[in-house]
């Protein structure tokens, strides 16, 4: 049923509050942790977005995972995810966390998993190896829009524009 005006405005307020004040618990398993520290630093300043590192999953809303997920660390990661209170979000940084990248199961003989999607539900994938701090910030902006339920038309959706549609006969090259 459609939410009443009060309920929708209250839920929008909480959405705004959650979007603008995220406490993240970093999982540094690989290379992208250095880039995440650079993003926390003073040049890209994650605190500007209200995003601060947290020391305990019990108090954090966002799980930022970077690095290849090995079969041995996956259950530990699941435990950490379960300790987090609802509503919680997950951001996968770098190609190892998104899809296994160069250290996927086909390369390492099933000692790593193909990214994070099998272990915990992921909200945002940030490609890059390691992604620039600006890319992490862009992923964060997109996550904030997702939390607030806003459309992210302002930012490009994936990279569809690279595709040139099928060319008709005028492409026939008579020369």
């Amino acid at each position: 049923m459609k939410q009443g005006w009060i309920q929708s405005s209250v839920s929008r307020l909480f959405g705004w509050a959650q979007a603008h004040s995220l406490r993240y618990f970093p999982i540094h398993m690989g290379c992208c942790s250095d880039e995440l520290l650079q993003a926390v630093g003073c040049r890209y300043d994650l605190e500007r977005f209200g995003v601060l590192p947290e020391v305990d999953p019990v108090f954090s809303d966002l799980l930022i995972v970077s690095g290849a997920i090995t079969t041995r660390s996956a259950p530990e990661l699941k435990k950490i995810y379960e300790q987090m209170p609802h509503p919680k979000f997950v951001m996968a940084i770098g190609s190892c966390a998104c899809s296994g990248g160069a250290f996927g199961p086909e390369a390492t003989g099933a000692s790593t998993l193909a990214g994070l999607s099998g272990v915990v539900p992921v909200d945002i994938y940030v490609p890059g190896c390691p992604p620039r701090p600006e890319a992490i910030l862009e992923g964060l902006l997109r996550l904030q829009d997702k939390i607030e339920g806003k459309k992210t038309a302002s930012r490009k959706q994936g990279r569809k524009q690279g595709r040139i549609d099928r060319l008709e006969t005028d492409e026939w090259d008579l020369r």
């Binding site: 307020l13 909480f14 705004w16 509050a17 959650q18 979007a19 603008h20 004040s21 995220l22 630093g41 003073c42 040049r43 300043d45 605190e47 500007r48 977005f49 209200g50 947290e54 020391v55 305990d56 019990v58 108090f59 809303d61 379960e82 300790q83 987090m84 209170p85 609802h86 509503p87």
Partner: protein
Amino acid sequence: MSLSALWQQSLQLAATLLVMLPGVYLQAWLDSKLGADLQARVGPSRAGSAGWLQPMADFLRLWQKVRPGSKGEHGSALWWAQGAPLFALLAITPVGAGLPLLTAPMSVLMSLMMAISFAWIGIILSWRSGLVEARLASIRQMALGAAGIFPALLAILQVGFSAQGLSWQKVDQIQGWVPWSWFAFSSPFAFVSAMVFVAAGLLLFSSPPFHLGSEAVRWIVAGFPGEAGIRLIWVRFSQRIAHFCWTLLTVRLFFGGAALPSLLTSSADAGSAPVIALSIALTLLKALTILAGTSILSRTLPSVRADQAHEFSWRVLSPLALLALVLGRLISVGGAP
């Protein structure tokens, strides 16, 4: 208590709350922006212009937090246990000229006792959480709280001696509204005890730089994973609110409290709204400058280890406070018959 008195008291409690919450809000915002500026960065700037809505976002974020699998096993009793002394502290902490809540001649020590009980109850309750980290951290925190109480008592004694009494009325009489007439600047020893009182507050509520690293403080609060909604907000921010009330105490004791120029207070509309508003604004301004000073201090100092904090408290704070007290008495007794 006649009905009108009861009505008047509750009005004042509401006014005090109304004054104190924006004060804590402003302090939270100022702390993050000042800290960011010290570190060559911008600090929260996306929630509202210049990030003035950031503390609001931090407060409201916790409202809808629900810990998976926990049906609030701590129950509400614990929440009240932590809240009760703070309400008492609010009732006693005089904020504005016209707003001492309890008009009975109240001793300054009552506020101190309320602050101490607040600081310790939170720590004892977190012992029940059973987490190894929470237990270890709560022992450490409680010992530090004790290290903060003794110097605070010495500083209050210094005030009591020169005001010939420990009730708020006597303390107010000896301080005018002009800075050089404040108690803190009346003599170097009084200034030392003022600084000792501020440092004792930092120790008692383990605010930075004595926050022993964010892990320890988090484990204290770990004792309340079951809470949600308003209770989680309360648990998370009660220490910051208590530290703000302690600063209001410091302002009232050492920095002239809410004293106003005599031409304002003696005129007919002494109790009118603008005068009270001015006195409240004055108190808040002084409290925020003190807290800005401590936040700058905490940004340039590393977080202090527990044994170092103890050493600082027992080898530096208490001896200094004692010295200031004794020398202050000798000189004032010797000086003014």
